[in-house]
């Protein structure tokens, strides 16, 4: 299991559990994200609070999840990114594709 999920009223707070978001767990992450969308979440708040390290494979899975979510009117927000992880997303401009918030509370406020 990659995600720890707490879902209330269609809002899934999903915390990535591993510290290393990499090729080793990218496929499982993708499957769990797609399941969340398929099972009725309308908003996924994806927390990176544990993630110290992320690579292109995991980012690729994140994009696949977004591609699956968008036509189903499901939003994916990213929260609690460590500076190094956020910098990498910014480097390849994924910050222009995903909405990024400081924490769950800020993301919830923005979703209202």
């Amino acid at each position: 299991m990659i995600l720890e999920v707490n879902q209330i009223d269609g809002v899934a707070q999903a915390t990535i559990l591993p510290q290393e978001a990499s090729l080793d767990n990218a496929e499982l992450f993708k499957e769990e994200m797609i399941s969340l969308v398929a099972n009725g979440a309308r908003l996924i708040l994806l927390s990176f609070e544990n993630v110290n390290y992320i690579d292109s494979s995991f980012l690729g899975s994140l994009v696949v999840a977004l591609k699956y979510a968008m036509p189903r009117n499901v939003d994916i927000y990213l929260v609690s990114l460590k500076p190094d992880v956020k910098s990498l997303l910014t480097l390849i401009r994924m910050d222009k594709v995903f909405k990024i918030y400081t924490d769950y509370d800020q993301a919830m406020q923005a979703s209202k």
């Binding site: 290393e20 990499s22 090729l23 080793d24 990218a26 390290y53 690579d55 292109s56 494979s57 980012l59 690729g60 899975s61 994009v63 977004l66 591609k67 968008m70 190094d84 910098s87 990498l88 480097l91 390849i92 401009r93 994924m94 222009k96 594709v97």
Partner: protein, 188 residues
């Protein structure tokens, strides 16, 4: 290129679960070799991302049980060099041209290989057979085409944008692939 490069060779198993640990080993080596020097944290982050992508590339594509990453540290620059004896690189350009090493007609030509609406990734072939990757940044658009592509190109994009120079060459005599990321350590 610096004359006196301090060199460390890290041999790693091409297994996905080995990547994070190997990145850590490489970073520790770099910190040890550059102790007392003030290397910008942002540069260290860029080095870390490039190492991770070089290792990922080896795991995905080398087809070998082991690869080697050599870290060369000079006064002004740091070079990551990953070698493996797997299949030579093959890229498909956006216009569907196949670019396969060793190049049949090594000419200096630019090929666009990825475009996401904001960044265009190019590879420039060279008479020597070397490939130089570079990015052209475009004005921002609201919804980039990032969503239309796969992680294969994210890896190349990360290495190209993270490093000050990112190149690939194939040594047909030794049958070795060599990816190289160069970082300027000098702060302006």
């Amino acid at each position: 290129m610096d004359r006196d490069l301090d060199s460390v060779k890290v041999v790693f198993k091409c297994q996905r679960e080995e990547i994070p640990g190997t990145v850590g080993i490489c970073l520790n080596q770099i910190k040890e070799k550059t102790e007392g020097r003030s290397i910008d944290e942002a540069v260290l982050s860029r080095i870390k991302w490039a190492i991770a992508e070089l290792l990922t590339n080896a795991v995905k594509h080398s087809g070998e049980p082991e690869s080697a990453l050599t870290i060369k540290i000079g006064a002004d620059e740091l070079v990551l060099e990953k070698e493996d004896s797997g299949k030579p690189l093959v890229l498909i350009a956006l216009d569907k041209t196949q670019i396969a090493w060793p190049l049949e007609n090594p000419l200096s030509v630019d090929f666009a290989i990825y475009h996401n609406g904001m960044d265009s990734l190019y590879v420039r072939t060279h008479q020597s057979g070397k490939a130089i990757f570079f990015v052209e940044e475009l004005p921002e658009v609201l919804m980039p085409l990032l969503l239309s592509d796969t992680s294969e190109h994210f890896g190349l994009l990360i290495m190209t944008k993270a490093a000050d120079e990112f190149t690939y060459e194939y040594d047909p005599l030794k049958k070795i692939n060599r990816f190289m990321c160069l970082f300027n350590l000098k702060t302006n």
